[in-house]
Amino acid sequence: MAAKKSGAKTRKPVSEPQKAELVQFYRDMLLIRRFEEKAGQLYGMGLIAGFCHLYIGQEAVVVGVQSVLDPDDQVITGYRDHGHMLACGMTSRGVMAELTGREGGYARGKGGSMHMFSREKNFFGGHGIVGAQVPLGTGLAFANRYKGQDNVCVAYFGDGASNQGQVYEAFNMASLWKLPVVYVIENNQYAMGTSIARASAETELYKRGISFEIPGEEVDGMDVLAVRKAAAKAVQRAREGDGPYILEMKTYRYRGHSMSDPAKYRTREEVQEMREHHDPIEMLKKKLLDAKHVTEDDFKKIEAEVREIVNDSAQFAQDSPEPHPDELWTDVLVESR
C-alpha cells in the first residue's frame, strides 16, 4: 500500500515543553483528578449509575500523549474514558452530564460513562467491549492513509485488553500496510482483579509487536514528561509513514476497577506506595516548584480554578433535564430524507 500524502500539512515539531506548557500539563492532570473524584461522589449519591471506571492515578498517560497530537488527529479508547475526553478538549459539563444521563450530555444521555463520542474533537469513543478499540483505531488510521491525510490515530487500551485476539489481527494489518497508528497500552498492572502476571505469558507488553515487526518501548507512565517524549517520537514516526508503534505505559489506578470493586486483590501498601512516591501530579508539582517556575500561591489559584470548573459541571449535570422521551426512538438509523 503506497504512502501518498497529498493533503499533508506542515506540522510543527514537538519541542521541549516550556514553563507555560508544563503548567498546562499540571492543570490538565489536576482537572482529570478532580473531575473523577467528583464523578465518584455523584456515583455515591446515586446520580451516576451502572459501570463507572475512574482514571485516577493514570492522568500522566493521556495528558502526555495528547500534548503531542494535533486537533485533527484521532483518539479512541475503552470504557475508562473520562480522562481521555477531557484531554481531547471535550467539556467537563458535557462529559459529566452524560455520566448522569441527561440531555446536556455528549450523547444526550443515551451512551453513558462507557460510550461517549465527539466527532468535533475527533474522539471516537468510549467502547465497552474490551479490545474493540484496537482494530477500530487501526481502521481510523487506514482511513487517514486512504484519504492521503497525514493524521495519526492513537488507540489506548489496557494490559488486560492486550490479550484479546483481535489486537493481534489489527497489529498485523497495521504493520503490513504501514498504517499511521500508535498503540498506547495503559498497563496499570490489573485487569479487573487479575494481575498482569496471572494473565499474560509475556508481561513486557511493549514486546507484543515483535512478531509483527512493530517496535515498542516501555515508558514510565507516571511521568508526564517521559510520556510526552516517547509519544512525540512514536507519533512522528507514524505520521511520516513508517507505520505503527507500541508504547507500553507503566501506570497504576488508585481506585477499584469500577465503583463496585472492593479491590481486595492487592495490598493497601501497594496502593499507598504508588500514591506517595509516584503520583504524576505531585511529581510534576515538585518539579515546577524546584525550578521555581511556580509558587505555592499559583498552585492554589490553579486548584481553585479547576474546582470551579468541576463544581460547575457537577451542577450542570444535575440541573440538566432527563432526555425527552422521544429520544428513545431517534438515532437508530440515519433517516434518509
Binding site: A49, G50, F51, E98, G101, R102, A107, R108, G109, K110, G111, G112, S113, M114, H115, H127, G128, I129, V130, G131, G160, A161, N163, Q164, G165, Q166, A191, M192, G193, T194, R198, A199, S200, Y265, E322, P323, P325, E327, L328, W329, V332
Partner: protein, 483 residues
C-alpha cells in the same frame, strides 16, 4: 419404470437447454453411459445413466430450451432396478433431479411439527365447514416430569447465585472431568460471585482464571470437550460471548452433525444474559433468540433458584452443548430450593407457575416475575391468567403452551429482548399453527422497544418491558378496556 429428471448443474440453476440426446428409445444403457447433453449459460454438461436399463421414452425433444430442473426428461425401464441419471462435466455436480425424485417422503422435523399432507387434507375435508389444523404431537415434552419430591421435604431459602454455585459444586464432586473456566471465576470469586468458594474447594486445576480472551477460551473449552472433558465456560456476561459466538455455533453446535455422530461436545456456556441496570447498549442484550435459533444447541433460561440449580445440573450432565442464560438482576433473589440429595430437572419442560382460564402469559428468565405480577394485577380485574415459565427455549415445550391456549384461547408472549425474529414470534407462530381454531384473539407480544438500550434512567425504563406492558397486552387480547 423410472423417471429421469432434468438435473440441476449448479445450486442456482433453475432451467436449461436439453441440447442433444445420445440415446434413442429402445437403447440399453449401463451405468456411466452418457445419455444426453445439457447446456446452461455457463457450461455444457453430460448426463450419465446411473443404473442399467432400457430407455423406454424420451419426453423432451433435443434442442428444447428452458427445461425446468426436475422436469421428467425420459423414462427408463429396468425390471426392479430404478436407474437414475448422474451428470459429469467440466463443472462437477450431483444429479439433483434424481435425488429429488427419490426423496418424496421427507421426514417430519424434530419437533414433530410437520404434518403428513394427505392426512391433513383428508381431515380437513371431513371437518366440513372450516379447515382445522390437525391435532399433532407438537413437542418432546410429554413424558418429561420434574422429579417427585419425597414427602415432608424441607426447603432452604437460597439466592439464585448460590443455587448455581451449589449445582456446579455438586457436579464437580460427582464427576472429575467437570471444570469451570472464565474471567475472574477463581481468585476474585466470580465477577458476580457465582463461583464463591469454588477455588478453595477444587483448586486451580479445576477452577481456572482465564485472560480476557473469550474467543480463545471458548474454543479451548470446545476442544477440551472433544477431548473428553466437561467444561463449564463462564462468560462474565453474554455480551462478551459475542466474541466467542463463532465457536459456540460453528464448533460446538455443528460438530456432532458434521462428524456423523462421532464427536459430541458436552459443554456448558453460562453467564448473565439480558439487561443489567444502567450499563448501556453494549452490556445489555438478551441473546435468547440468537441461541434459540441454532440446531445443535440446547438453551436454558431459568427463573428461580430451584430451576437454576436443577437445570444447571442437567446441563452439565447433558452430552450436548448447552447455553445457560442467567440474569444478573436475579442473582441476589432468594427462593425455596428443595433439600434433596440430587435435584436434577428435565431439559425441555416448561413449568406452569400459575393456573388460570382466561389468558396464557408465556415468559422466561426474569420476565416470569413480571408475568406473575401482571397476573396478580389482572386477577383484580377479574381476568385469570395462566403463567407459563418456559425454562427451556430449545427444546421448546410447545405442547404445554398449546394445551394452555386450548383452555384460555388467548396468549401474550413476553420476553426481555427485541421482538423482531424473537422468542415470542416463535411461540406465536407455533400457536397459530397448532391451535389456530382455539384462538379468540391474535397472539400478542411484549418485548423490549426496538432500539439499542439507552443509558439514561428514564429512557431505559421506557425501553424495557414491564408488568404493566403485560397487563395492557393481556387486556387487549381479552378485549377489555385498557386504561
Amino acid at each position: 419404470m423410472t423417471d429421469i429428471l432434468m438435473p440441476a448443474l449448479s445450486p442456482t440453476m433453475e432451467e436449461g437447454k436439453l441440447a442433444r440426446w445420445l440415446v434413442k428409445e429402445g437403447d440399453t444403457v449401463k451405468p456411466g453411459d452418457v445419455i444426453a447433453e445439457i447446456e446452461t449459460d455457463k457450461a455444457t454438461m453430460e448426463v450419465e445413466a446411473v443404473d442399467e436399463g432400457v430407455i423406454s421414452k424420451l419426453m423432451i425433444a433435443a434442442g428444447t430450451e428452458g427445461v425446468k430442473v426436475n422436469a421428467v426428461i425420459a423414462q427408463i425401464s429396468a425390471g426392479d432396478d430404478a436407474p437414475a441419471p448422474k451428470t459429469s462435466g467440466k463443472n462437477k455436480s450431483s444429479a439433483k433431479g434424481a435425488e429429488v425424485h427419490t426423496r418424496s417422503d421427507a421426514k417430519a422435523d424434530a419437533a414433530g411439527g410437520k404434518p403428513d399432507d394427505s392426512a391433513t387434507e383428508q381431515k380437513a375435508r371431513n371437518d366440513g365447514h372450516r379447515l382445522r389444523a390437525p391435532e399433532q404431537k407438537v413437542a418432546a415434552a410429554e413424558g418429561l416430569h420434574d422429579p417427585t419430591l419425597p414427602e415432608g421435604v424441607t426447603y432452604k431459602k437460597t439466592a439464585v447465585r448460590d443455587a448455581l454455585r451449589d449445582a456446579i459444586a455438586e457436579e464437580m464432586r460427582r464427576d472429575e472431568t467437570v471444570f469451570l473456566m472464565g474471567e475472574e471465576v477463581g481468585q476474585y470469586q466470580g465477577a458476580y460471585k457465582v463461583s464463591r468458594g469454588l477455588l478453595e474447594e477444587f483448586g486451580d486445576r479445576r477452577i481456572i482464571d482465564t485472560p480476557i480472551t473469550e474467543y480463545g477460551f471458548a474454543g479451548l473449552g470446545v476442544g477440551a470437550a472433544f477431548g473428553g472433558l466437561k467444561p463449564i465456560v463462564e462468560f462474565m456476561t453474554f455480551n462478551f460471548a459475542m466474541q466467542a459466538i463463532d465457536h459456540i455455533i460453528n464448533s460446538a453446535a455443528k460438530t456432532l452433525y458434521m462428524s456423523g455422530g462421532q464427536m459430541g461436545c458436552p459443554i456448558v456456556f453460562r453467564g448473565p444474559n439480558g439487561a443489567a441496570s444502567r450499563v448501556g447498549a453494549q452490556h445489555s442484550q438478551d441473546y435468547s433468540a440468537w441461541y434459540g435459533h441454532i440446531p445443535g444447541l440446547k438453551v436454558l433460561a431459568p427463573y428461580d433458584a430451584a430451576d437454576a440449580k436443577g437445570l444447571l445440573k442437567a446441563a452439565i450432565r447433558d452430552p450436548n452443548p448447552v447455553v445457560f442464560l442467567e440474569h444478573e438482576l436475579m442473582y441476589g433473589i432468594e427462593f425455596d430450593v428443595p433439600e434433596v440429595e440430587d435435584f436434577v430437572l428435565p431439559i425441555g419442560k416448561a413449568r406452569i407457575r400459575r393456573e388460570g382460564a382466561d389468558v396464557t402469559l408465556v415468559a422466561h428468565s426474569r420476565m416470569v416475575k413480571f408475568a406473575l405480577d401482571a397476573a396478580e394485577d389482572l386477577a383484580g380485574h377479574g381476568i385469570e391468567a395462566e403463567v407459563i415459565d418456559l425454562r427451556s427455549l430449545r427444546p421448546l415445550d410447545t405442547a404445554t403452551v398449546i394445551e394452555s391456549v386450548k383452555k384460555t384461547n388467548r396468549i401474550v408472549c413476553c420476553e426481555e429482548g427485541w421482538r423482531f425474529f424473537g422468542v415470542g414470534a416463535e411461540i406465536a407462530a407455533a400457536v397459530t399453527e397448532h391451535a389456530f381454531d382455539y384462538l379468540d384473539a391474535p397472539p400478542m407480544r411484549v418485548a423490549q422497544r426496538d432500539v439499542p438500550l439507552p443509558y439514561a434512567a428514564n429512557l431505559e425504563k421506557l425501553s424495557l418491558p414491564n408488568a404493566q406492558d403485560i397487563v395492557a397486552a393481556a387486556k387487549k387480547v381479552c378485549y377489555r378496556e385498557v386504561e
